[in-house]
Subunit: 161 residues, 2 copies
């Protein structure tokens, strides 16, 4: 598996991953009815942000983006998001993507990385983030409406570099 | 003092309030170099959001907006922001604006209201929010660069309705 920066030619493989995850509504606070164009605008970020893909045998199996979490007096903290194709989960793709964007954010001089809205039911992601040094800073109770579990908390997670 | 919905004719009085607060860089994670047009786009929100003004003797002394904090599975939680003119602070303007948008959000059926980034040094705002039922859910350490205090925490605050 290789993680590298996203190129425009990757989008046809990234979109189905984004589409399926957003439509499932189990992990991201995105509109499940999002169009391909809206998804591209939200997901694929040029400089000063970065978008990356994880590739196995020339096939895109995951994607990530990272950028300043807030403008102005909050611009020294980064944020990032990750999506892994259903068929590629459990293979370390998310970990590789997270390491990639953390390295990018450190290089850019960010002071840390914050995840603003991690569904408390997304144990796989939470375990992964914890292994890489993130801590749960707090949890907004019931702030995520999971399609089968109902309202679950949304964690704010942070890793200081 | 009266709080009512914002109308286009209010903007010439709202903009100097927004401009001075954003340029001071002490409370909002907005770009201090924000133009008037950018500020209008960020601050004045039409339906399904609300923008309100606090008025004393036909003079606008504060403004607030409120809307869904996140799309999709997060859309049942609202968020809001408040700005009060320097010369009108300590008169209950912020409290009146906060009560107004909380009432609006309850009417709209939101489950609660979340503030995503309250500078830990903004004691006046934190005390006000606490009096109205908000709690600090967590604090991202050093996530706000205050112009004189340096890096202070950013609180996530929440009030369940």
């Amino acid at each position: 598996m290789r993680v590298r920066e996203h190129t425009p030619a990757d989008w046809p493989q990234v979109w189905p991953i984004v589409r399926d995850i957003v439509r499932a509504g189990e992990t991201f606070t995105y509109d499940p009815a999002m169009t391909e164009e809206q998804a591209h605008d939200i997901w694929v970020k040029g400089p000063p942000a970065v978008t990356a893909v994880a590739v196995i045998d020339d096939r895109v199996v995951g994607s990530a983006n990272a950028y300043a979490n807030r403008p102005g007096p909050g611009a020294h903290v980064s944020t990032a998001s990750f999506m892994v194709a259903a068929e590629a989960r459990g293979k370390g793709v998310g970990t590789a993507l997270c390491r990639f964007v953390m390295a990018w954010a450190k290089e850019q001089g960010f002071a840390g990385m914050q995840f603003n809205a991690v569904a408390a039911s997304n144990h796989r992601a939470i375990d992964l983030y914890r292994r890489l040094g993130f801590e749960i800073v707090g949890t907004v109770p019931g702030a995520f409406h999971h399609p089968t579990l109902g309202r679950v908390g949304l964690h704010v997670m942070y890793c200081e570099f």
